[in-house]
Symmetry: C2
Subunit: 226 residues, 2 copies
């Protein structure tokens, strides 16, 4: 190893990160308690950019209209585009723009939740920053963690990004209307995901055609009735 | 603001991050010097997971065979899958598995480069971890930063993830053979990217059909002849 390969600061950084993750866990527990007291279930949606989180939320809002009142917290490095899309559906929404930061944390969600205090809802969707790596490390106080991979991204993603799957309860394989155009092996993708997390509930679906959406909606109906 | 919203450690974290970024810049400068002395040009490929970085490299290797000798450094949180794909093309390759970390840094690239010391090549492709956020902050010592967005991800990505575009010289819009199946506005995507970085060279292409690949290859040929 040559003289340039080390870095003295690395251990100090790891120590601070550990501390921050612990502080985040404390606040996540407080969020969880707050959500429980308010009688709502929270879902943390994690995926790469462009996997279709916002499109799925739009389809979910349309399908649950008049059945289950819901609210959304949107996370993005920049822009209010996603919040505008949700607001257009008549649903309470708060946009968190992280100013370039790569994930949401429990503190940001806590602050955003304050802005929803006047609203009444049973389901809270938290759309994380588009990133399949960093959001995995940060508990937001959610009841259910949902990880999404879209067909164009490729069926190898669970093997390459296992951390996103470890603590998830639901894995949505999105944009399955595109299966005919891609070399995406659905069974291989499921097998890789179950290898990491055998309890994972896997739902392939398309927000565009509605295929598979019934299973996702049943899951949400089951969740609020718990 | 309620009692749960602050975190004492945040300033300390920011300070250490600043220090690490500065240390990274020093080592990146050393990498750059090393690459120059070895008479090669290095490219840092940044995109979300599944944007087609490895497929583009496969197509590039096929097209440049016998013309420009090249080598590849692959970055992934886990697995050696991408390195195996490149190795099958008969090109020298080193896989960096970051163990979950969300980006490559100059130190990792420096160590990987040591493993290519016996090889002779003119172009070094560094495929970063699939992540459109964190890799943007870390100079690897590359000559050219290339950012990729694929058609299925959506044309709004430059606006949402501007940091990835700030320091890039080339923006590849990949998988353009899929334009008929997606609501992707090519002109809007270019406009958003140029708004962030007016010097950006934008090349729409498809590694599958070969459309637009000639412009990318011309860029690479121009780069090595500099």
């Amino acid at each position: 190893m040559c003289e340039h390969c080390g870095c003295q600061e690395r251990n100090k950084e790891l120590e601070i990160k550990k501390h921050l993750l612990e502080a985040n866990l404390d606040l996540a527990a407080k969020n969880r308690d707050l959500f429980r007291k308010r009688g709502l279930k929270a879902l943390n949606l994690i995926s790469a950019p462009g996997s279709g989180k916002t499109s799925l939320l739009e389809a979910t809002i349309d399908a649950l209209k008049g059945q289950i009142p819901l609210a959304v917290i949107e996370g993005d490095p920049e822009t209010e585009r996603d919040a505008a899309r949700i607001r257009a559906k008549g649903v309470p929404v708060v946009q968190i723009t992280t100013g370039g930061a790569c994930h949401l944390d429990a503190r940001m969600v806590h602050q955003a939740f304050h802005q929803l205090e006047e609203e009444t809802f049973r389901l809270l969707f938290i759309e994380n920053v588009g990133n399949l790596v960093c959001p995995s490390s940060f508990d937001l106080g959610e009841d259910v963690r949902v990880v999404l991979v879209s067909v164009p991204e490729g069926s190898d993603k669970p093997a390459k990004y296992p951390a996103a799957f470890h603590k998830a309860q639901v894995f949505l394989i999105t944009k399955i209307d595109l299966l005919p155009y891609f070399d995406f092996d659905l069974e291989e993708c499921k097998r890789l995901a179950w290898k990491i997390n055998p309890q994972l509930q896997i739902i392939p679906l398309s927000a565009r055609t509605g295929e598979g959406l019934d299973k996702w909606l049943s899951f949400l109906q089951g969740l609020v009735s718990k």
